[in-house]
């Protein structure tokens, strides 16, 4: 335990205000772990100098794995020896982020023994993030984690830890079992998760409905978003009940429909289901009256990424509808073709979406053996990448 704690006037400012403060939490943690005191000291220095003091490690990891550990070293080890090594470990989260309190205690106890005790629940990839340990502690920590049934997640040019919304475990809108699909993908692609073999990272995210609570359309190379093929299920009595209780159905529901496929005559709500684009707005506003249809499955989309090398991209439709029961097999077949093409033609650090942009969607579809379909076009006359041959 540190007898004298480092003075951090700049960081102290971040404790003010009604919101949670990471500074406050790290200060709590330094009462039991001296790494946290040096961490605060180094961070305060960075705030003073307006300069980061972390160096990126390249080869630290556990035996056999190429991902799961992100090396970090202080560039001021003499001044802050306790954070001379401060590696991050990514631990594969359970699908849907469900834990028992026992599992959480187990994780925290392991990290108290081997690291700073600081965690990030969860990182943007979805993993449980353990912040700060020494190289010598990596293998013992990994051994304890695996003994308790946990595994490391992905980092580097691998398939990153797949993530999923809570799906059918808690959400009535889920159109397929997201947690099962996420688990199946994780088990199927263990090699791709732990042994980097790609030009760059590849992410799967499984969203149960078009609300897309895991932001798969913005954050994953392959987004699997639940949807339905038939009509929205409608309970007219419940619609009338909403109106009776004061909901302005015209203003709050119909006028906000992006395709204007709904009309309200003051008594009856009519939906032109063939015009519906599954935006979920009406279902979210009137959950007791409207529900997704009964013929459920998912849309598979490709190519999203956050801005790193190039700007942010949203994923676009690859397969408009796959029945729920056929999802895993379809994804496996499709993924194998996509990864083959990407491995062959992708440049170093080129995401699949960027490759598609570079070679053109038509060539990409041709290479993976998919025919263009109208659902791949975001708006009429708005999409330049699909050309039909004269004879068609």
């Amino acid at each position: 335990m540190a007898d004298e704690t480092k003075k951090t006037p700049k960081l102290d400012e971040l404790e003010k205000g009604p919101w949670p403060s990471f500074v406050k939490e790290i200060k709590q943690a330094r009462k039991v772990n001296t790494m946290c005191d040096d961490l605060l000291g180094q961070l305060e220095t960075s705030y003073e100098e307006k300069k980061g003091h972390w160096k990126h490690g390249g080869i630290v990891g556990v035996m056999g794995y190429g991902g799961g550990v992100i090396g970090r070293y202080s560039d001021m080890p003499e001044k802050f020896p306790k954070v001379a090594h401060f590696h991050t470990m990514r631990v594969n989260q359970p699908a849907g982020w469900f834990y028992t309190s026992k599992a959480l205690r187990t994780l925290c106890d392991i990290w108290d023994r081997h690291g700073s005790g600081l965690t990030n629940m969860h990182g943007s990839t979805g993993d449980i993030v353990f912040l700060g340990t020494k190289t010598d502690e990596l293998e013992p920590c990994f051994a304890e984690l695996t003994k308790e049934g946990f595994d490391l997640g992905g980092s580097g040019s691998v398939m990153r830890t797949p993530s999923a919304c809570v799906g059918q475990a808690r959400c009535e809108w889920a159109c397929y079992d997201t947690m099962k699909l996420c688990y199946d993908l994780t088990q199927t692609y263990q090699d791709e998760l732990h042994r980097p073999a790609f030009p760059y990272k590849f992410k799967f995210k499984c969203a149960g409905c078009p609300n897309d609570c895991v932001a798969s359309i913005a954050r994953s190379d392959m987004s699997i978003i639940g949807t339905w093929k038939d009509s929205i299920q409608q309970d007219d009595a419940a619609v009338a009940e909403y109106a009776k209780k004061g909901m302005d159905i015209q203003k709050d529901v119909c006028d906000n429909c992006p395709t204007k496929c709904m009309s309200w005559d003051g008594k009856k709500l009519t939906i032109e289901n063939h015009e519906c684009v599954r935006c979920m707005h009406c279902i979210n506003v009137m959950p007791k009256a409207l529900r997704p249809g009964k013929e459920r499955g998912a849309t598979i989309l490709i190519g999203a990424k956050a801005p790193i090398i190039q700007g942010a991209m949203l994923s676009s439709v690859l397969i408009p509808f796959v029945p729920a029961a056929e999802l895993l097999d379809t994804i496996k077949e499709l993924t194998s073709r996509i990864w083959d093409f990407w491995s062959e033609y992708g440049k170093n650090r080129e995401r699949i979406g960027e490759l598609i942009q570079r070679v053109g969607m038509a060539n990409f579809l041709d290479a993976i053996g998919l025919d263009p379909v109208p659902e791949m076009v975001s708006a009429p006359r708005d999409n330049p990448y699909i050309y039909f041959k004269k004879e068609e």
């Binding site: 390249g58 980092s155 170093n348």
Partner: protein
């Protein structure tokens, strides 16, 4: 198969060793090199994957990260503090 997985692992190791400090190889680079050398009908991507696995699991090679992930010989980390 004209060449065994173990032989390929050895050839990959030699490639990595010779290029050490000059060029880094990704798993796909090693796979493409083996297929180019022996022909697609003679070695498969899975064979190459197994060869890489032999190198990594034996500790003769390690994964490294510098922008992307590469396969390299074990060495002292440049950024590491004693």
């Amino acid at each position: 198969m004209a060449v065994t997985v173990e032989q390929m692992a050895e050839e990959m190791y030699e490639m990595i060793k010779e290029a050490m400090g000059k060029k880094s190889f990704k798993a796909t680079d090693l796979t493409k090199a083996m297929i180019a050398k022996y022909g697609e009908g003679e070695v498969s991507k899975d064979d190459c994957k197994h060869a890489i696995r032999i190198l990594i699991d034996s500790g003769r090679c390690v994964y490294s990260y510098f922008g992307g992930s590469f396969i390299t010989l074990p060495h002292k980390e440049g950024a590491a503090n004693e």
